[in-house]
Amino acid sequence: MSGSIVPTGSVPAGAVLEVAEDDPEALMQLYAARGWGDGLPLVAPTAARVDAMLAEATGDPDEVLAVLPPRFGELTRRIVAVNAVLAGCPTVVFPVVLTALRALAREEVNLRGVNATTHPVAPLVIVSGDIVERGGFNAGLGAFGPGNRANATVGRAVRLALLHVAGARPGQGDASTQGGPAKYAYCVAENLAECPWESYPKSRGIDAASAVTVHCGEPPHNSHDMESDAPGRILDKMASAMATLGQNNAPISQGEYFVALCPEHASTIASAGWARSDVASYLHERARLRAGTFRGAFGQLAWAPWMHAVPDDHLLPMTAHPDNIRVFVCGGAGKHSSFVPSWGMTKSVTSPVEG
């Protein structure tokens, strides 16, 4: 390695650096010295590569789309393209990265809290619609990874933008006690081909060819059932895994759960005549603990008002309303589903893909 990148001293935000050659090791060293990067090799964001990324978008490359806290960096198409190049994104998925970041900037996400908390929360990006096939996403076997470029690089590009633009660096803008693997990349595609119901975005009123959902939560929790032929037995196992005190959903009743059913579980459930909303209602009914158990465990409970009124021996749900339990299908053969608890003080957003 020839030490081929020439640092240019103090670099203002949005500046251009000079590179002697396109060498990954040198680029990593330069970026690390400036507090940039995620620790993995990076693709040099040359003007040609950034322009190729921008060609997939419409609109002014330098339009300020949002300001991301806690650094309050300006989110533009160009700076997103820079981070998409760094992550190794194929250009076709660039609008997905843009859409995810714009969704994360929405007020209900509470990105300042998501980035700055001690919790290990990371935004899960769920990709739906035509872009899944066109962008080469994996919605099937191993959908949460590893091994697929689109899933991996979209998740990584979102994280790099949060590190660089939002300033969510560990110890600075990110106080996460332990961090977490989902903070490297956290993107999955909806397996609509094996979903017995309408697409997740359509179920939320988003009737677009392609859409992106962001949900700020924990890594997936596994729920395994390989023997049941009835919805209740499958979902009782998931409910038992959901009903624990260690998740933020326990003291924060507005928190959502995203339930990622594998196709075989979804098929068994739907074959019994159950709709997506029945899955949510059942889990809401079955994932419960005694009110007194919650009260004994927490000094502060950010609950819906009605939850405070029930006696200690009443069974309370892990989230205030069935609509807080969101169901989609992903993965391939096998009988492992999962669910993603929420950070709590955040709401998911689903948006049509736009550049």
Binding site: A13, E18, A44, E74, L75, L86, T118, T177, Q300
Partner: protein, 96 residues
Amino acid sequence: MTKIYAPDGALGRPPVALAASPPVLGGLRIGVLDNGKPNARLLMARVGEQLAARTGATLALVTDKGPGGNAATPCTPAVIERLAKEVDLVLTGSAD
């Protein structure tokens, strides 16, 4: 030479520096802003009382973040304005 972009972009809001700490606390009004973490009010109010007793300052105001406020959300502007008006320094930010 090849040119590459920096990845962070411009700032949409200028950074704000903390005010300088007062060299002497005597005669000043101490405020406590409970940031919503468990025991934050208890801990910081006690610190405020001890500081006041040792320095001749006054513990003038103990407040939370306002309606709907909690550890994960910002303080309401009305509470910030009240603190700015009624105290000279603020204790806040107790962690987990």
